[in-house]
Symmetry: C2
Subunit: 157 residues, 2 copies
DNA sequence: TATTGTTATACTCTATAACTATA
DNA sequence: TATAGTTATAGAGTATAACAATA
């Protein structure tokens, strides 16, 4: 799974792959780091059976109780059509719920169930441990620098 | 992991979404930055009609002429089954080619065609411009720091 | 007429098992 | 028997169009 960066041949006769300019590409290195991070996330949150997107949805509902689906999708850049099965799954697991809006009966207000709140608390503990393992590789200072750089890459400024 | 400080509503009446701990999550910020980077890549390489994976495949074949498919997949962490249609497409476009191995007739050695080499040169120019735009957001020093941090995140060390 | 949530659909990426032809 | 490449298939993630209920 891990590409090596050096060129030449190994003693066993197997070829060591030359990645060339890719190791100097922000895009490619971002992708590799993200693949590693996702794998670690899945391993860390296996106990609560949450994928990264599901974890993010629960967190954002907790931070924004009563948020409507369209609001959610606009903020996160998710297509509203794709949000439906995602939320269906969380509702089916009894972690989140839709409540039909009182003022606008077209819309649904989203809330965590007590069970969702409980699971999310446990998920946050596991997620913190996962983040701590990532931080251990780059140091606390490195983590702050990384978050700052990633924010700059994303924001239009 | 700490929640961020701000919350509340915007003046226009639209709700300002609270992302909470997500903005302090390496995993989430990696994902957001990568989405931005991929969008920029697609825009930058539209002219040559190469997606990030296709660009990476052409580059690695150029750096490792004669590489076999299994070697390639082992090094890049791609499933060999998924590599087949990927390579079929590049071959169909006349950019790369399989040559049946002389010593082992089960395997294919991969090469760029002259047209593939030409297109890749142009693609590299476009890719460099894209990387320069990313670098402009974080500075040359920031870029070096970022690449170093991303490498540390990926490598087991 | 416009908007919210929904359905249907399609295309990409990824993951696994089983097949073929060679070794 | 083991391996290289292939096929088939299934699951996620993502994109657009169109529909019903409501505004």
């Amino acid at each position: 799974m891990r590409p090596t960066a050096r060129s030449g041949r190994r003693s066993g006769g197997a070829r060591s792959i030359e990645l060339g300019p890719l190791t100097r590409s922000i895009g490619y290195m971002l992708r590799r780091a993200q693949i590693t991070a996702v794998a670690g996330f899945l391993e860390a949150l296996k106990e609560v059976e949450l994928r990264p997107t599901q974890f993010a949805v629960l967190l954002i509902i907790r931070e924004n109780p009563g948020i409507r689906q369209t609001e959610f999708c606009d903020a996160l850049g998710i297509q509203k059509a794709n949000f439906v099965p995602l939320l269906n799954h969380l509702e089916w697991r009894g972690l989140a719920e839709r409540r039909t809006g009182t003022s606008d009966r077209r819309s649904c207000a989203l809330y965590l169930t007590p069970r969702g709140q409980e699971l999310l608390r446990r998920a946050c503990v596991l997620h913190d441990a996962h983040e701590a393992r990532l931080t251990a590789r780059i140091g606390k200072r490195g983590r702050e620098v990384l978050l700052s750089l990633l924010r700059k890459l994303h924001d239009p400024l």
